[in-house]
């Protein structure tokens, strides 16, 4: 469970920073940050499954 929690933390941190830097205006920043957050989680899950299947 720690693994997934830390992945969420990682994605959340990246989402906040990229959201604030990448867009102007609170709503746009929130939307973009949420998008980045979901993308990080998705890529993490895909890589995890790929590594599982490869090994």
């Amino acid at each position: 469970m720690w693994h997934f929690s830390l992945m969420l933390l990682y994605a959340a941190a990246a989402g906040v920073i990229f959201g604030v830097i990448g867009r102007e205006g609170f709503r746009a920043q929130l939307t973009y940050g949420a998008k980045v957050f979901v993308e990080f989680i998705a890529v993490g899950m895909i890589l995890a499954w790929l590594m599982y299947l490869i090994t």
């Binding site: 720690w2 830390l6 933390l9 990682y10 920073i17 604030v20 830097i21």
Partner: protein, 135 residues
Amino acid sequence: MVADIQKLNDGTTERGWTALVLAWLVPGLGHFYLRQFKRGAVMGGVVWFLFMFGLAVGGHLYGLFDSSSGFLSYIFGFFDLGTGLLYFASRVLGVGSVEQAQSSMAEYGNVLLMLAGLLNYLLALDAFDLASGRK
């Protein structure tokens, strides 16, 4: 493009470099210098939290001349250096300087410390862009 170059050559460049260095030295300080308090507090707070949490779970800081993990150590050291004074203060105080191999969370801590550094590099560049009028 000519206008961009001219803009870089006027007084905003000095302000930009000051903001960049301050942001690198202390996460969030560059934005405070530019009176972007909310932006600095939010982003700086994230970097500070990642750094502290990374140390708390047993992560350790790589040095620029560290070779404990081979060539990658130099790269990890560059990443860790992104947190500026936090990195130097931790090294001086001996916090996070020893690898905690016995801790199951240590590797995650290492990654969080590197992430803090990399995100702070982004903060520094953002501060420069703000001061230079690009944003």
